[in-house]
């Protein structure tokens, strides 16, 4: 009778442990200790559960701290990103937005983060880049990648290694400023031949919403070609050019300036999105750790009570055996 109760108790403990748990190591460690203890009693030791709880609690503290760090970094960079939003608007007002332009040499500039644990934004950027590559592939057309950030490089190097022209990492070692981005833009323009530059980044809408976006910067030759063809840039011919010797020179400077401005805004927006995504990833991680801790606490209490019950049963059955 007592043994049946004990067996039932053991099965009740084993039950929640054996149910599908999100963490496999938990199950395996408990299962192994259960097998070890199977010879004596049919429940696991509280020590194992306590160790597990300690490590989950530590993880929860770490993720909470990371969330707060990301929140403070986000606050700092969000004002700068919002202030820089006016920078690309005059260019779009003048030259229009031409994502569907048909050119021979496409360069896809993918902006991503260096550090991980920031949700799915880097994967989204890479997927969009691959999509743009596919969209602009065809006879006589070629697309190349310029990658900013470690995470996109890790993903793109797997299947498009030969198409990566340039990759730049450690962008955020020093706080982002325009001079640094201008130098970077200059580097890219000098080393890469392009007809159209497509910058892929995550635009920061709010702390929970990041929208993948692509901005297109055309080379001066393509601008002239599109202006002659009419359509969006058809109005461009009506603009008088002041300064510089020739129209081509001014358009060249304009294209370079446009690229550096658009890149600056894109880098800031992506940095904001990264911090926001990290905040929400760490927040859900802390919440998960909290849930796991609750479950483990229940398990621990049950284990503890079961061992007390076992002791009592042993004592009582021993006593009743002596008596009767």
């Amino acid at each position: 009778m007592a043994m049946a109760a004990l067996r039932r108790e053991g099965r009740r403990i084993a039950g929640p442990l054996m149910s599908p748990q999100p963490v496999n190591p938990l199950r395996s460690s408990l299962a192994s200790s259960e097998e070890h203890a199977l010879t004596g009693v049919r429940f696991i030791s509280t020590q194992v559960v306590r160790n597990r709880m300690k490590s989950v609690r530590n993880i929860q503290k770490i993720t909470k701290a990371m969330k707060m760090v990301a929140a403070s970094k986000l606050r700092a960079i969000q004002t700068r990103a919002e202030n820089s939003r006016g920078l690309w608007q005059p260019f779009t007002a003048l030259l229009g937005d031409t994502p569907s332009v048909d050119v021979k040499k496409n360069v896809i500039v993918t902006i991503s983060s260096d550090k991980g644990l920031c949700g799915g934004i880097n994967s989204t950027s890479v997927k969009i880049s691959r999509g743009l590559y596919k969209l602009n592939s065809g006879p006589e057309k070629e697309s190349k990648y310029v990658i900013l950030g470690e995470k996109a490089k890790a993903q793109l190097v797997r299947d498009s290694k030969k198409d990566i022209e340039l990759s730049i990492t450690e962008l955020q070692k020093n706080p982002l400023n325009y001079t640094q981005v201008a130098v970077l833009a200059d580097d890219i323009l000098k080393n890469v031949e392009y007809d159209a530059l497509r910058i892929v980044y995550n635009k920061f809408h709010s702390v929970v919403s990041f929208v993948p976006t692509t901005s297109t910067v055309l080379s001066p030759e393509v601008v002239e070609r599109e202006a002659e063809a009419g359509g969006k840039l058809g109005e461009l011919d009506s603009y008088e050019i002041e300064g510089g010797e020739t129209k081509t020179e001014v358009l060249q400077n304009l294209a370079e300036f446009q690229f550096s401005c658009v890149l600056f805004n894109a880098v800031l927006e992506n940095a904001c999105s990264e911090q926001g995504a990290r905040m929400s990833a760490m927040d859900s991680s802390s919440r998960n750790a909290g849930d796991m801790l609750d479950r483990l606490t229940l398990t621990y209490n049950r284990t503890r009570q079961a061992s007390i019950t076992t002791e009592l049963i042993e004592i009582i059955s021993g006593a009743s055996a002596l008596e009767g």
């Binding site: 700068r80 202030n83 006016g86 920078l87 608007q89 229009g96 325009y178 976006t213 969006k232 304009l254």
Partner: protein, 249 residues
């Protein structure tokens, strides 16, 4: 109201914002909740069916009407975008197409038939929009070919700027900023966009430091050996002499 989500037509950006205002006006026709549920529901469905037809016709009508002859960017932009979106959807159906900058920008006003009385100026820097949509009488920009005055109705221009003073005239007030260089676009609809890297009000500049800097860069220019050093020193001399002229002249 989940029924409105069913109604929304996921097409071009311009048509979707056309539907919004109609939605709110039609929602007033819904009967209050305390009337008998079945009648309300039937009447609502009928209203919705009519609304859907109404919205579809309105959306298509407005799409054909939106080819305004003087607008510099509105119809062409959406055409380009929809071409991109369609091409994307055909090739990559599982992923939403990325947004493009035109989706985040308010469209510019069309070119009016008469010359407006005020010029709208936007002065943007990488760190801040100093002036955004400010109505002024005149601005004088430091173009590479000299100081250029821009009045409302100025011909459309793209001007490269050199370091110099930008003065904004509003009635009797004149605000002066020292620009480090950039570009200025004047559009046919009397909107001027000035993009510079730095713009400081002239009273924030210290004359002594300027003169010291000028002397230093002139000395560097005379002792420069490589082309790069010469170019850098020349830029320093240009900027400092412009600053000097701005403060003293």
């Amino acid at each position: 109201m989940s029924l409105w989500a069913y109604l929304s037509i996921p097409n071009e950006a311009h048509s979707s914002y056309q539907i919004g205002p109609h939605c709110s006006s039609l929602s007033f026709h819904f009967l209050p909740r305390n009337s008998t549920l079945r009648d309300t529901r039937f009447q609502n469905l009928e209203m919705l069916r009519q609304a859907q037809r109404f919205l579809l016709t309105r959306a298509s009508a407005s799409a054909t009407r939106s080819t305004r002859p003087f607008s510099t960017d509105l119809p062409a932009e959406t055409a380009g975008d929809s071409k991109f979106i369609d091409a994307w959807k055909k090739l990559i159906p599982n992923m939403d197409p990325p947004k493009t900058p035109s989706a985040y920008m308010a469209p510019r006003p069309p070119t009016p038939s008469t010359i407006p009385s005020k010029l709208t100026v936007n002065l943007v820097l990488p760190y801040d929009s100093v002036l955004s949509a400010k109505e002024v009488d005149m601005v004088i920009v430091p173009a590479t070919t000299g100081q250029m005055g821009v009045l409302p109705g100025h011909v459309a221009t793209i001007a490269e700027l050199k370091p110099g003073i930008l003065s904004v005239h509003e009635g009797n007030d004149v605000t002066k900023y020292f620009l480090s260089g950039g570009f200025a676009f004047v559009h046919a609809n009397s909107v001027a966009d000035i993009i510079a890297i730095e713009a400081t009000p002239v009273d924030h500049i210290d004359l002594n430091l300027v003169q010291k800097g000028l002397a230093e860069f002139q000395q560097k220019l005379s002792s420069a050996s490589t082309d790069v050093e010469k170019a850098e020193a020349q830029i320093g001399v240009d900027v400092h002499s412009a600053l000097n002229a701005a403060l003293t002249g």
